[in-house]
């Protein structure tokens, strides 16, 4: 067991998979010699050499296109898109090509690509470098979407994503990079589509993802002081979506809150609210409540950005208000 930062766990998790599969390669902007602009790929060039860890031009379509073409001809690839906002400039390759080729070709083509990208706000980067784009990815049939919240899960889900034969978008949260956690020794391999109950409770269920998980946990701590026992679920994976864990928690607590960093409309919580409303309606003791970033572009100023993204205080207050 070693303590490790979320940032270091990324390179650690990638290295675990690159040692296991000598075919696995990675490409992206500034990932090799510079070790990544977020220092999430430090040391990989030295360990695996320039043929397996490659710097590219600023050409996101070329990056994802090359990843797809290599993957469909037998080479699994990890591609980095530096900021998740940049997915918008290569969305064609992601949404029209990678996601659909297997279906369109009657199953002839397999695309084992992991698209790593730095997602989320809190770094005061403004509206084009801070977005939470998990809902952009979730809505495309044919893409899997993963977003770890701890260093241990970075390693386990990275392994699961790399070993999965389908394209997986792997969202690394910028505001979690400096956080630390225990990472057990030895190989860690998780399964995609398995949520974790990270705090047990009986009065309400809070479902959260990535940066929202530690905030939901802190809010749950404060709720406990008010006599509200909150169960917190770290979703970890949006596609596949672990509805079993959510439904069984709601069956126990009767109340559901989602905490989402994405802007409100069509956020993942809306899908969960819909599923729970349909399949667990009679388990519910009150309305499902979504706590989200408002439907606005993210501002740069720290005071404004902090108001926009759900905070511990806001999560706590919204839940207390409804649970009263």
């Amino acid at each position: 067991m070693a303590e490790m930062s979320y940032r270091d766990a990324i390179a650690y998790g990638i290295a675990q998979e690159m040692r296991r599969d000598p075919r696995l390669v990675m490409l992206g902007e500034d990932i090799a010699a510079a070790g990544g602009v977020f220092k999430t790929t430090v040391g990989l060039l030295e360990q695996f050499g320039p043929d397996r860890v490659r710097d590219t031009p600023i050409s996101e379509q070329a990056i994802l296109g090359a990843a797809m073409g290599a993957a469909m001809t037998g080479i699994p690839v990890i591609a980095e898109i530096m900021f998740s906002d940049f997915i918008a400039v290569c969305f064609d390759i992601l949404a029209n090509q990678m996601a659909k080729t297997r279906y369109m070709t009657g199953g002839q083509v397999t695309v084992p690509v992991v698209i790593r990208t730095h997602n989320g706000g809190g770094a005061r980067f403004g509206a084009q470098h801070s977005q939470s784009v998990e809902n952009w990815c979730m809505m495309i049939p044919g893409l899997k979407v993963v977003a770890p919240s701890t260093p241990r899960d970075v390693v386990g889900l990275m392994a699961a994503a790399v070993r999965d034969p389908d394209p997986v978008v792997f969202l690394e949260h910028k505001s979690l990079l400096a956080t630390k956690g225990e990472v057990p020794e030895g190989e860690i391999v998780d399964e995609l589509g398995v949520a974790k109950v990270v705090r047990e409770g009986t009065d309400c269920t809070i479902v959260a993802l990535a940066l929202m998980v530690p905030r939901a946990l802190q809010a749950a701590e404060r709720l406990a002081a008010e006599g509200i026992s909150a169960e917190v679920i770290d979703l970890r994976s949006l596609v596949p979506l672990d509805t079993q864990t959510i439904l069984s928690s709601v069956a126990k607590t009767g109340r559901l809150f989602t905490v989402e960093e994405n802007p409100r409309l069509c956020g993942w919580g809306a899908e969960i609210a819909s599923i729970v409303g349909h399949e667990a309606f009679w388990d519910l003791d009150g309305p499902v409540v979504r706590i989200t970033t408002p439907h606005i572009p993210l501002p740069a100023a720290e005071t404004l950005e902090d108001m926009a993204i759900p905070s511990v205080d806001r999560i706590y207050k919204e839940i207390v208000e409804v649970m009263d």
Partner: protein, 357 residues
């Protein structure tokens, strides 16, 4: 411009001066290609021509739904390259991909059945005209978003480079593609990584309904951009299969031997409109007539006669191809629609489409 002074004639492209083809080059008769191979190239061009004509007829009978983008008039490009490719080389094509698919040896029956939306289709009816793919034939797909496949083709070339397989990737695209960002990203990327790939622009002079010269600041939309990426400027007669083949084998050999990518522009012309819905009326009549005269099959037919092949042999080839196109049509027409269960299969590698547990 006010509506009073606006003259719609100015924007009727069919009133523009025609862009006429250069005269056929009879010297290409002397390109070193064995006669039996030339006979096969004639046969292949007949296959592409007759298949596309039949596809057009079936569209008009409403047996093929959706859209179609035919290669009528452009058969020499697909033929010249396919003949120069090794069996395990990779082809990437656009939505105008019937010819490139057939040229790699994919049987006509499943291709026709795919156009008709049948269960026996090449893609089980799930892809349609614009996505023809046959991995076992090296036909790595037809891609319907302009430019994307050039980036994807790079990946196949990169993979071949990493695996040391000596495979070469050939990616076809239209003149209109040269104005989208993905084209420039792809060519630059291939050049800096010295990828074993040949990019082939099929310049048919029209970007969908608009003359390419009106939307491109250089005469040759692909070849005149090559220098920006340190590549040779190559323009070939896209209606002469032998000239295409001669260039294709040189560039493919260069790629195979580690010489990196090439960008070639084959000048050609489509006999019809952009797609099913387009009669192509925006083209000057004199221009269309001149290019119809310069039809690749006519040129090749005349060449083979000059080389001493009896007319009767060429007729036999055409008749044999006609019979096979009939068979493919019957196969497609008599095939059932796709199995309803296939609707929900093959989203994921596990064969299914489930997104939840």
């Amino acid at each position: 411009m006010s509506t009073e002074t606006f003259d719609p004639q100015l924007l009727d492209y069919s009133n523009r001066p025609p862009r006429l083809p250069s005269p056929p080059n009879e010297a290409n008769d002397r390109i070193d290609i064995p006669l039996d191979q030339r006979m096969r190239m004639y046969e292949l061009q007949q296959e592409l021509r007759q298949f596309e004509k039949r596809a057009y007829d079936l569209f008009m009978q409403n047996l093929v739904k959706g859209t179609s983008h035919l290669s009528l008039g452009m058969e020499a490009v697909a033929t010249g390259f396919a003949m120069a490719m090794r069996r395990d080389d990779y082809t990437f094509a656009t939505y105008r991909g019937h010819a490139h698919t057939l040229a790699r040896g994919v049987p006509m029956g499943p291709v026709m059945a795919e156009l008709l939306g049948r269960g026996t289709g090449l893609l089980g009816g799930k892809g349609g005209s614009m996505h023809l793919t046959s991995v076992e034939h090296g036909m790595m797909g037809s891609y319907a978003i302009i430019g994307a496949h050039l980036c994807i083709a790079n990946g196949a070339a990169w993979s071949a480079q990493m695996r040391g397989s000596d495979q070469v990737t050939v990616a076809f695209f239209g003149d209109g593609t040269t104005n989208i960002g993905a084209f420039h990203e792809a060519i630059n990327f291939a050049a800096i990584w010295k990828l074993p790939i040949v990019f082939v622009c099929e310049n048919n002079l029209y970007m969908e309904y608009t003359p390419i010269d009106l939307v491109t600041p250089v005469e040759h939309p692909a070849a005149d951009r090559a220098a920006a990426y340190g590549l040779e400027r190559i323009v070939v007669d896209g209606n002469d299969a032998d000239e295409v083949y001669d260039t294709a084998r040189r560039l493919i050999e260069k790629a195979r031997s580690g010489g990196g990518p090439s960008l070639v522009e084959a000048v050609t012309y489509r006999h019809g409109g952009h797609s099913r819905a387009d009669p192509g009326k925006y083209r000057p009549k004199e221009e269309v007539d001149a290019w119809l005269q310069r039809d690749p099959l006519t040129l090749y037919h005349q060449r083979l006669l000059r080389l001493g092949v009896p007319e009767i042999e060429l007729t036999k080839i055409a008749q044999d191809v006609a019979r096979r196109v009939d068979e493919a049509t019957e196969f497609a027409k008599s095939s059932p629609p796709p199995d309803p269960e296939s609707l929900m299969t093959d989203v994921w590698a596990d064969g299914g489409s489930s997104w939840r547990r």
